[in-house]
C-alpha cells in the first residue's frame, strides 16, 4: 500500500470482514471442535500433554493457511505486521473478529513491547464445554494458540503463545492468551547463501 494511505482502525477492519464473511452455525462449530479434541484425546490414550501438543500442531497448520486469507481480505499491505505491536493488535482486533466473531483486545504490555496478553470477551470454541477432573491439565483451546503462532510465523514474527487464564480449567473468568515475541525473522534473500 502507498505510504500516504491512511490505515483503517483494526477493530473496524475486523468488523467489516466479519460482516462480509460466510459463516457457519456456532453450535456446529463448537461441537465439531469438541469432537476433534475428543478424538485426539482418544488417539493419545488420554495423555493430556500429548493432546495439548497435538492441538497446537493442528492450530499451527491452520494458522499458516488462514493468514493468507487474512492478508487478502483486509488488504493488509507490505507493511502489515512489521512490528510485534502491530501484529498483536492485528490478531486481537482484526483476526479474532474476522474468523471467530470474538471481540478482543491487548493488555499488559511489557516495557520492552515484546510481550502482551490478548483478552477475549467470548470464546465460541468453549461453548457447552465442561472438563472432567481427569483432564485437568488439558488446554482445550490450544488450537487457538497454535493458530496465532502459525499465522504470525508465516509473516516472520516468531512467538510463543499460551493461555494465561482459562475459565475451563477454572482460572480466571475470561480467556486470555499470553503472547511473547521470540524474534522477528529477517527476510531471506535467495542470493545471500
Amino acid at each position: 500500500m502507498a505510504d500516504g494511505r491512511r490505515r483503517t482502525d483494526p477493530a473496524i477492519a475486523g468488523a467489516r470482514c466479519w460482516q462480509g464473511a460466510e459463516r457457519c452455525s456456532g453450535e456446529l462449530f463448537a461441537l465439531t471442535y469438541g469432537a476433534l479434541v475428543r478424538q485426539i484425546l482418544r488417539d493419545r490414550e488420554d495423555d493430556v500433554d500429548a493432546t495439548n501438543a497435538a492441538l497446537e500442531r493442528v492450530g499451527r497448520s491452520m494458522g499458516t493457511r488462514i493468514v493468507e486469507e487474512y492478508l487478502s481480505r483486509t488488504g493488509a499491505g507490505a507493511r502489515a505486521c512489521r512490528s510485534f505491536e502491530d501484529a498483536c493488535e492485528a490478531v486481537a482486533k482484526t483476526a479474532l473478529k474476522m474468523f471467530l466473531g470474538v471481540d478482543a483486545r491487548t493488555r499488559d504490555w511489557s516495557e520492552d513491547v515484546d510481550e502482551c496478553v490478548i483478552e477475549m470477551d467470548t470464546n465460541p470454541l468453549a461453548e457447552f464445554v465442561e472438563l472432567p477432573k481427569r483432564y485437568e491439565g488439558l488446554c482445550y483451546c490450544n488450537a487457538l494458540c497454535g493458530a496465532i503462532r502459525g499465522a504470525l510465523e508465516a509473516v516472520r514474527v516468531r512467538t510463543t503463545c499460551a493461555f494465561e487464564s482459562d475459565p475451563l480449567a477454572g482460572n480466571g473468568d475470561k480467556f486470555a492468551i499470553r503472547i511473547k515475541l521470540v524474534e522477528i525473522v529477517p527476510e531471506e534473500y535467495p542470493f545471500d547463501d
Binding site: 505510504d3 497448520s61 499458516t64 493457511r65 488462514i66 493468514v67 493468507e68 486469507e69 492478508l71 487478502s72 493488509a76 499491505g77 507490505a78 507493511r79 502489515a80 505486521c81 508465516a154 509473516v155 527476510e187 534473500y189 535467495p190 542470493f191
Partner: protein, 174 residues
C-alpha cells in the same frame, strides 16, 4: 491554395488514422496469457497458459516446456528479491509490473512470500484487481483444501476452475 489544402487534408487524415490506431491499441483490453503461482522459496507451484485473441484477431499463446517454466519462476523470484534489495528507499515491495513491446507482466507478492504472476497482451487490464482475485482463489481453493500440502504444487480442481473463471472474465470482456 487550392493545391495545398487537399495535401494538408490528406496529411491530417493520415495523422488521425495513426492516432486512432495508437489509441485503439492502447485502449484495447489486455488478455491474460498465463498465470503463475510461486511459493516463498521460489518454487513454481502452479502454472497455466491461456490462448488469448487480441483486438486484431491474432492469437497469443505462451509456449514453454515445464522445465523452462520452473527455471523462469525461480529466476523471477531472485529478480524480485534483488529489486527489493537495491531499492534506495526502505519498504520496497519488489517488481510489480514489467512492460515489454509485445506483452506485459504483473506480479503481486503477499506478505507471506507467495507470488502471483500473470502475463497479458498489450492493453488495459485491471491488474491489481485480477491478481487479488487469483490470490483469493488460492487461499479459498488451495490453502483451505485439507489435502493440499503447503508449498507444494497446487493440484486442486476447484482452484483450476476458479482461475479459469477469473481469466475468462478478463479475456471475454469487450
Amino acid at each position: 491554395m487550392s493545391t495545398t489544402t487537399p495535401v494538408a487534408g490528406v496529411a491530417h487524415a493520415v495523422d488521425a488514422r495513426a492516432l486512432g490506431a495508437c489509441a485503439a491499441s492502447a485502449m484495447a483490453p489486455g488478455r491474460i496469457t498465463s498465470v503463475w503461482v510461486i511459493n516463498k522459496s521460489g518454487g513454481l507451484i502452479y502454472h497455466r497458459a491461456f490462448d488469448a485473441v487480441d483486438g486484431r484477431g491474432e492469437t497469443h499463446a505462451m509456449r514453454l516446456d515445464a522445465n523452462a517454466t520452473l527455471r523462469l519462476a525461480s529466476v523471477w523470484h531472485s529478480m524480485h528479491a534483488i529489486a527489493r534489495k537495491v531499492s534506495p528507499t526502505r519498504g520496497c515491495v519488489g517488481i510489480e509490473s514489467v512492460e515489454c513491446d509485445t506483452f506485459d507482466l504483473y506480479c503481486f507478492q503477499a506478505e507471506t512470500g507467495t507470488k502471483i504472476v500473470m502475463t497479458t497482451t498489450k492493453g488495459t487490464v485491471d491488474a491489481r484487481g485480477t491478481l487479488r482475485r487469483a490470490h483469493q482463489a488460492f487461499y479459498a481453493y488451495a490453502l483451505q483444501n485439507p489435502f493440499y500440502e503447503m508449498e507444494m504444487p497446487v493440484r486442486c480442481e476447484l482452484f483450476d476452475a476458479e482461475i479459469a473463471n477469473v481469466v475468462r472474465s478478463v479475456n471475454e470482456r469487450t
